[in-house]
């Protein structure tokens, strides 16, 4: 402890915790990011976990990772490669060796690097360092398992509980390296294990022992200082992930609309946490119904919407496929409905725990018939709140289903969030029919939005019938008339197009003209922004146009696009947004940067491609 170590001051640092999926790596990462946020750093996190709950111990397939980046300003990504890797076993080292920055520090639990461990991770030799070509990295061989046992030898905890604490030893070591205060995490133990004081004390002891151990060994030659951000606005903050923010945005919208919230949903990775969060909040009049399947999820919500609740349903790609027919019913009956699709790798079951943006076409077009609806996308964990709110406002005021696209990356990623005040959010005014109205025609529309009015069963004298058959343009009764069908098709499209009059213009980050316009949408924002900012600092004429409103697009897209020499559309699919833009604004030439590896972009690869274009390659 008394040894004086060199302190390096850095702008940002990226850390990756990795181990068996039962090793508690997600918790270590979360605690580290919470402590850093509290310290005042910018933080961005990304859990990278396997689809199996407990894959065979020690195998590469069962490795769970949690990467985070902290910095002296707002952080938009968890970093491409990491400065520090914690690997709790050989499999974790093997799975994550590709994510290391040159010269990175690797903390390994040396106790696990025995014959059995190496075999399980399928190393061919007994020298993992050479096999993975890690000779140039600073590897800290710490006997974490045995030190944890030693640390808790005097407690009466059983062996299993003791071993479960080794993630806290590793966390203590990382806290030392990055000069983090321990009190926030200690407080966490006290709250989490309120009824089990022995567990609280054990965790505290292991954390401190890890901290002190790191201070005493020579293989950690220096520590890092990452000053608090000076640009962070003052105020009350919390860390939030995208799924919780989505759930809260929906509750906020229900409050502003003065309607009870109903969510019919079926569990599916990575969307389930929205249902879990909503199920907690009965105190705010939230009703959740865990349905028997995805179809019942949306159909119970359609029934609830007909009956006068603000209804939502939550899902991921395969679930959206199952909901397609019912989405058509919601379009036809022109009822408000928000469908949240937390995108994951596809097609079919695909990569359930990995991120992708390949459901865009499905959201836009995946239904029978001419079936337009509104599509919007959130772009960061915390702004899922705002986009859930915006999606709800459009659904309720324009009487239309809205699909909100998020993805596994922002759904599970966290960031500090300046807690907003509800007084800063607009009222939501659905076109409800007042009691006592006598002239109600269910498909009569207002001229501004072309939205029909919403009469709720139970209101006297407003009895009417809705359904999936084509409606008479005026009366709303069933009509098979050819000209009427054309008119209804036109007006359903026009209603969605009219939303354009009620959304803000698209913003450009950077100069309004230049050599390259980067176009992105949804959860890639952090990476495209960081890449563009970095090139701008180098004096390059690059700007970013990041889309949230997808259908309809904002009005001024054309005015933006025409001021740039090149346009590149970056997305985690094979070019769906690029093709959508070609359909809508065919006069421009769109370059593409696409990736479908179940992973976010890296800032490095984006910059590499942008530089190529700028250099005329």
């Amino acid at each position: 402890m008394d040894k004086q170590k060199h302190v390096l001051e850095v702008d940002e640092v990226s850390i990756r915790f990795s181990g068996d999926s039962g090793d508690g790596m997600q918790l270590s990462g979360t605690l580290f990011s919470d402590a850093s946020a509290l310290f005042g750093n910018g933080v961005s996190t990304f859990p990278d976990y396997p689809a199996e709950i407990r894959a065979p111990q020690g195998t590469v397939g069962g490795v769970s990772g949690f990467q985070l980046q902290i910095g002296n300003r707002k952080m938009y990504t968890p970093g491409d490669d990491c400065d520090v890797l914690v690997a709790m076993n050989p499999a974790a080292l093997k799975a994550n060796a590709k994510w290391l920055k040159p010269g990175a520090t690797i903390i390994v639990d040396s106790d696990t690097f025995n014959e059995k461990g190496l075999q399980r991770a399928k190393f061919k030799t007994d020298d993992p360092v050479t096999e993975l070509k890690l000779q140039d990295f600073n590897i800290v061989w710490a006997p974490i398992t045995s030190l944890t046992k030693e640390s808790l030898i005097e407690t009466e905890l059983d062996n299993k509980s003791i071993l479960r604490s080794k993630n806290m030893f590793a966390l203590g070591m990382v806290y030392y390296m990055f000069d983090r205060p321990l009190n926030f995490t200690e407080h966490y133990y006290e709250v989490k294990f309120k009824t089990r004081p022995r567990i609280v004390e054990a965790n505290k002891k292991v954390l401190r022992d890890g901290y002190n151990y790191a201070g005493n060994i020579d293989s950690i030659p220096n520590t890092y200082k990452i000053p608090a951000s000076t640009t962070t606005k003052k105020g009350i903050y919390r860390n939030i992930n995208g799924n919780v923010a989505t759930a809260w945005g929906l509750i906020a919208a229900a409050e502003k609309a003065k309607l009870p919230l109903f969510c019919g949903s079926y569990p599916i990775t990575p969307a389930t946490d929205i249902l879990i969060e909503l199920a907690k909040h009965k105190e705010l009049d939230v009703k959740t119904l865990q349905a028997e399947d995805e179809i019942a999820g949306i159909c119970t919500s359609i029934g609830a919407s007909f009956a006068g609740n603000f209804a939502v349903t939550t899902t991921s790609g395969p679930g959206l496929s199952l909901k397609s027919e019912a989405l058509g019913l919601a379009v036809m009956t022109e009822l408000p409905l928000v469908v949240v699709n937390v995108q994951r790798g596809g097609p079919s079951t695909g990569l359930p725990t990995k991120t992708e943006q390949s459901d865009l076409f499905q959201a836009l077009y995946g239904r029978n018939g001419e079936c337009p609806l509104v599509v919007v996308a959130a772009s960061t964990p915390s702004n899922c709140f705002d986009w859930a709110f915006n999606a709800s406002k459009i659904a309720l005021e324009h009487m239309t289903p809205v699909i909100l696209l998020t993805d596994g990356y922002i759904a599970n990623g966290t960031e500090p969030w300046a807690i907003p005040s509800m007084k800063d959010y607009p009222e939501i005014k659905p076109p409800l029919v007042p009691d006592g109205a006598t002239d109600y025609l269910p498909y009569e529309r207002d001229s501004e939005k072309l939205a029909r009015r919403w009469a709720i069963p139970g209101q006297k004298g407003l009895e009417h019938r809705l359904g999936g058959l084509e409606k008479d343009f005026v009366k709303g009764s069933v009509s098979h008339d050819p000209i009427n069908h054309q008119k209804m098709t036109d007006v359903r499209a026009a209603k969605v197009a009219k939303v354009q009059d009620f959304i803000p213009e698209q913003e450009v980050i950077g100069d309004a003209e230049g050599d390259l316009l980067v176009v992105s949408w949804g959860g890639t924002y952090g990476h495209t922004l960081t890449a563009v900012n970095s090139l701008q600092k180098e004096g390059k004429k690059v700007s970013l146009c990041h889309l949230h409103y997808i259908n309809p697009l904002p009005k001024n897209i054309k005015d933006i696009f025409k001021r740039f020499k090149n346009i590149i559309v970056c997305e985690l699919n094979m070019g769906q947004m690029a093709n959508y833009l070609r359909m809508n604004h065919q006069e421009f030439n769109y370059l593409q940067f696409n990736k479908v590896q179940g992973l976010p972009f890296t800032v490095t690869e984006l910059k590499g491609r942008f530089n190529q274009i700028l250099e005329g390659k």
Binding site: R238, E255, A296, C299, A307, L462, E463
Partner: protein, 341 residues
Amino acid sequence: MGKHNYTTQDFKSDQEVKWCPGCGDHAILNSVYRALPDVSEALDYSKERFVFISGIGCSSRFPYYMDTYGFHGIHGRASAISTGAKVANPELSIWQITGDGDALAIGGNHFIHAVRRNIDINIILFNNEIYGLTKGQYSPTSKLGSKTVTSPYGTVEQPFNPGELIIGAKGTFFARSIDMDVKLTAEVLVEAAKHDGTAVVVVQQNCVIFNDNTHSLITEKEHRPDRTIVLRHGEKMLFGKNKEKGLIMVGNHLKVVTIGEDGITLDDILVHDAKNPNPGVHMMLTNMAYPEFPFALGVIRAVKYATYDDNVRDQLLEVQTGSKIKCMDDLLHSGDTYEIK
């Protein structure tokens, strides 16, 4: 004088009824028109609380013929739509209209789960043992060996007995009627409305075009007294033109007997207990088939059990009373927050 004094006319919409002439659906519609004024009085429901929700099929056109709130859904999903509507707005009196294809084939999953949850809705299942709207394909209730356009050599699959499925899915209310008996159908519909929980009324309905006379063995007026038995809670299980026949229990089996023969007296005849939670006898009654037995009609099972919608309401109240979080701002500031100064 009742409170609402509705007549059947109050529930008729201005839409032309477009079922085939002679279709059993007309009779069921009349039964509903007849039942609703009585339901209104019995439960003090004003007209705007009635909602008719359907799926797809001939029967599912039903909501258009009612001057009530209505929702014509998509194939098989009426149970889910009804469930959502009832949970969202528990004041409503939900009537789901469905058929044997809609409820038991494409919508089978939603149907059994609605029944299992015991959500307070009424389901009228029109059982004509055929797909009518798609022109004559066999359904999950078509008799084994039925020759249809998609089974030209006869079906090779066992049909469902809807009642068996309902009781198996923990159903709390199951009644059965036949389309032609408008009075009996209306009577069991009123009972269904009074029941708290999922009430399923299966109506044996004739499709005059694609499956004519499928139920005629039991429904022909002259044979009906001998081939059907109308069950009423607390009453003896008697049938026959002069109520001379009845059901007794021999060992674990039901048996048809004639009063006055083999020393059988009225005292030996079983009394129907629809409220018995044990579904054993209800299942036997449900499975009775002609010619060995009369076909059971009336309310076969009506058991009291907590409803889903009541439980939802109770839980909401309980959580709301105990929570410090009263609005979104409270939630935003709950739990772990920190201040940047």
